[in-house]
Symmetry: C2
Subunit: 636 residues, 2 copies
């Protein structure tokens, strides 16, 4: 295909133009008639009127007798009135009031005599204890106006009013067409080059929440005719169509050409990041949205460009997300050319809401899963500095954020296990961890951005862990150091050690591909210390600059044969079946600011650290030693 | 059945005892395994770990060429490097990185030569433009902790991590058993005595929102054995059972006896109103809740007593409703003996949230449909005075309340038509009306409780409508009077006028059953004026004390042969096919306080009053004259 230059249309303009172009082409909601019992949460398309009265007959509101009120006039405690059999009727609640009766006396308020007459000590008021016809709903009255969401009680009111069917706005059917030669249905053993098709599952879930009916078509290979034919079919069968991937301008990107054969392209290229190569097109009143293939781009494109169309369909307000303000824990650099959407993790530390930017790669679907909010950097802005207050679109309720322990620092899989154990024991407490290395954790605690930080910092002069760093960075105290675990650090190697690494110095051998950890991580500090100790020059280590953020991701590179060696903990080597040369046992502790001390969340954390369940989990991971976890270490 | 005295257990005690009795009998959530694609909104029952890395191979992040970074070292603008065919591989985004390559150069950054070699003007950094294995998710890492709701992105992350099935908390199946000889399935032509079974439809909708699976059983007649057998079946098939109706202590209330045969009764009778006769029972770990038959009682009982069990099942917080403060427009009298739940309509007038109590009858399901909030009057409290600030549990979002025109005053069906037309034209504006009569409307405007009041008050001295009342009640002005409609008032009579009423004075004839309107309504003032004028003594009118709140409900009593005559407007007589003796044409106008003037909502109201759609709707109702509706009447 020929290369097509993408436009860079601002999002707000693209949104408005797309919506109104569609409206001018007749885009609007259809209607359908459904059984009232199946109408929950649907939206009426026109006013609903009652067909019958409710109640539809005058009914007794009590268990007792029905009679003519006049017959009881004058009855008092001292001058009771006795009515003979035949001048009253025994009724239960809900029974019709017999002809000629206009009041009910409760069973508790009358005396039954042996001759089947009754005696009454208080006059009945006409119409007492009678549910009048139409007391609830009168026939012909409006039960619901147009464009009203149907509630449980409205279902009851409609049935009571004899309305068994109701006309509602149809749910828009949204066709999803996955395309791509390399795309395969979800499986658990893909081959290299296979890409699992999960975008349609993500989009389907989002669409359901917005009141649309997703309809996913089979995967179409990168062939112009096949894409065109499937598109043509979907446009006939659906109210809106998503063509997934192939929206950029590379080899084998046939989307825009196929769309041009079927309908009209309004814009190709929107000034947003991620999501730039979106295609905004339509065939008559059916929107055809070309959605980029990376999941994060896709989520943002359909949230920003399809959702407003569904909102318009239902005639409801577009903006339903709550916005709030939060302080950035790191800078966010953004290009002037695009409006950028940055996912953030949020946490309350004290009363301040903190926003930590998540990885921005548009292929990283886990970043969306972890996101508590979204920061929008407007087009024409270079981003925000660390510590700046920014507006955040909330994706997680504030209440949950207030109950979340924010742990920022060194990575260890035990943090995930802790999160699971804590939430399993106390479902109102959550633990969220971010991996920025030990030094990053110390800084986060200093800046008041975290409730805790995992650290394992070796003082190479004393051989002691953590304490000298705390004394240096917290000269006036104000923090606690909580004993967590001892863990085995070492060199992780490919299974069977094919290139025969036997000592630390071997990482500088020719042909060895090393994979490093990021600066500021405890493991990197250890690595640099070992280089110095063993006289290994970083320049001689191939891959010294290649940085990964976690033990697991280092191990995965080695297991996947994209590296031969890397420093890490035994549990990561064990998880991926790697060989391991032990180097040292280090102390991995938790640094906690005084401000976070003593809260219910912190007490739960300590309680869990001391539990036998924690011990069992940690032992299963392997390579850890536990020596009174949860105890305070004397620092100052 | 023998009469059983009900206990009067306080709600909070009943809730706690019920929950913990069940927990002690083993009440807890089951689990089930579902396909990840069907897992949206489900709750994980244990932590989910990735099976494979995502990406599961090192992949190109760009369209370009893959090569060994080393081969490009030294390349600059002035010293380009040329690589011959075979020393690089052309790759598209997502393609695997070939063995021996460790970097990708974008297609834009290289020059293709005629001999199929490429020239590069800038060195590649190792691993640039490569998506590392596990960049998104590493195999073995925790994707989700236990007891976590599954989001769209989490579905994507699980599939990316090779997880195709996930263990989640099972949805509790809640059996609903409707009972009663008089109960019939929904239909539109019930016979007197038939009661339409709509409780199960209401309950089913509520249960769906709480994450439960409703299972409605066929209607069971009031026979002990049949109820017992159905209950026994339901207890085996369900996680929780609702036995609807027959929970009180009257004739044919077999519920509690049947439950005692199957399981244990903890309490019969709770100190709440409505809902008192609830039965709290269980069979082992299966709760059996005897729910009163009136819909409002039923809704409150399952909200207060079943919902906490479902919340416990899922391990989530019970209280999710927002509470706020509102000022009562009328007093709420409550018995000391019960905790009472009072439905209220809410509206913002200025910045003050006003709460108007709705009809409290437990058979009035429409009151729940109209309710924006619930006021709880604690046990031991006699209620609240008019104007008192009370706590309200919100059922309608505040945003909608802020966009709602509050119209309090005289009833006319045109108000429903206005509500429909306004909301149809502007879906962000709502109109809510309450019928308290013309004088009630004047008082509501005086107290700042309404944006508008419909009034039609005859000054019997001048023959003029409304103006003298406004001068009297608003001596300093501050209100506008807006022309609405002229409407035909008269005597509504049974079709064919069987008892030959030919003049107003005939309502006092022997055998005539009159039905009146409430004090303070314009129609009642007209009635009293006509009595005086025609020398009719109220004492001589049978049914003078029988008061209905709307024209329609008066007409319905006549149409249903529970009355012979009543005053009302022609449109009501027409709706129910009644005979009609015209009496006068009255002016029905809208009184509007200055504070509500000029707002967008008010301008929409006036716009709609002046529209041809309003004219068409009003003419279809019949008996109205339109003379420039929406114009301001000169009062002062």
């Amino acid at each position: 295909m020929g290369f097509e230059y993408l436009t860079n249309t601002p999002l707000s303009q693209a949104k408005t133009d797309y919506l109104w172009t569609l409206v001018e082409h007749g885009f609007s909601a259809g209607t359908e008639t459904v059984g009232v019992q199946d109408s929950y949460h649907r939206i009426t398309s026109k006013a609903v009127y009652a067909h019958i009265n409710a109640p539809h007959y005058a009914a007794s509101a009590m268990d007792g007798v029905a009679l003519l009120a006049k017959d009881t006039f004058g009855a008092t405690e001292t001058t009771p009135v006795t009515l003979r059999k035949g001048s009253f009727t025994v009724v239960d609640t809900g029974d019709p009031i017999p002809d000629g009766c206009d009041a009910v006396i409760m069973v508790e308020d009358l005396v039954k005599n042996e001759d089947e007459s009754i005696t009454i000590h208080s006059a009945a008021a006409p119409w007492q204890h009678i549910r009048q016809i139409g007391e609830d709903i009168c026939a012909g009255e409006m039960i619901l106006p147009c464009f009203t969401e149907i509630s449980p009680a409205a279902i009851g009111a409609m049935i009571a009013g004899g309305v068994l069917k109701v006309e509602v706005l149809a749910r828009p059917t949204v066709g999803i067409i996955p395309t791509g030669d390399e795309i395969i249905p979800p499986c658990s053993d893909p081959k290299p080059g296979d890409i699992l098709e999960f975008n349609s599952s993500i989009f389907s879930a989002m669409l359901q929440d917005w009141g649309a009916l997703p309809k996913t078509y089979p995967i179409v290979p990168d062939r112009f005719d096949e894409i065109k034919n499937m598109l043509s079919k979907a446009v006939k069968e659906c109210d809106m169509v998503l063509l997934n991937a192939g929206s950029s301008a590379g080899r084998g990107d046939f989307s825009v050409a196929a769309i041009r054969e079927i309908g009209e392209v309004l814009y190709h290229g929107i000034a947003i990041k991620p999501g730039k190569p979106a295609i905004l097109a339509y065939k008559n009143a059916v929107p055809i949205l070309g959605v980029p293939g990376y999941p994060v781009s896709g989520i943002i494109v359909i949230e920003e460009l399809l959702r407003p169309l569904i909102d318009r369909w239902y005639g409801r307000d577009s903006e339903t997300r709550t916005r709030t303000r939060a302080r950035l824990t790191r800078q966010v650099v953004s290009g002037l050319k695009y409006q950028e959407f940055v996912r953030v993790r949020l946490g309350y530390v004290g009363n301040q809401l903190m926003a930590s930017p998540l990885p921005r790669g548009s292929g990283i679907v886990s970043s969306f899963m972890k996101a508590d909010g979204m920061v929008e950097v407007p087009q024409g802005t270079e981003g925000y500095t660390s510590g700046e207050e920014v507006r955040v679109r909330l994706l997680t309720p504030k209440k949950k954020l207030k109950n979340t322990l924010v742990v920022i620092g060194s990575h260890d899989p035990l943090l995930d296990e802790l999160a699971d154990l804590i939430h399993g024991e106390n479902r109102n407490i959550y633990l969220s961890s971010a991996h920025v290395g030990s030094m990053g954790g110390i800084m986060a605690v200093r800046r008041g951005e975290a409730h805790a930080a995992g650290i394992h910092l070796l003082d190479t002069e004393t051989g002691q862990y953590n304490i000298s760093y705390i004394k240096k960075y917290f000269p006036f105290g104000g923090v606690y150091l909580l004993r967590c675990v001892g863990r085995q650090q070492g060199l992780m190697l490919q299974k069977g050690n094919p290139i025969q690494i036997t000592s630390f110095a071997d990482i500088a051998k020719d042909g060895v591909r090393y994979v490093n950890r990021q600066k500021g991580s405890g493991t990197r500090i250890l690595m640099d210390y070992l280089c110095q100790k063993h006289n290994v020059s970083p320049d001689s280590v191939y891959g010294y600059e290649r940085e990964e953020l976690t033990h697991n991701s280092v191990a995965v590179q080695i297991a996947g044969d994209s590296a031969d060696a890397g420093m890490g903990i035994y549990s990561a080597a064990k998880l991926y079946g790697l060989d391991f040369i032990p180097v040292c046992v280090e102390e991995y502790d938790l640094l906690i600011p005084e401000s976070a001390w003593g809260t219910g969340m912190m007490r739960q954390l300590i309680h869990t650290l001391k539990s036998s369940e924690f011990k069992a989990r940690i032992e299963a991971l392997g390579g850890y030693t536990l020596d009174h976890p949860g105890e305070i270490i004397d620092v100052f």
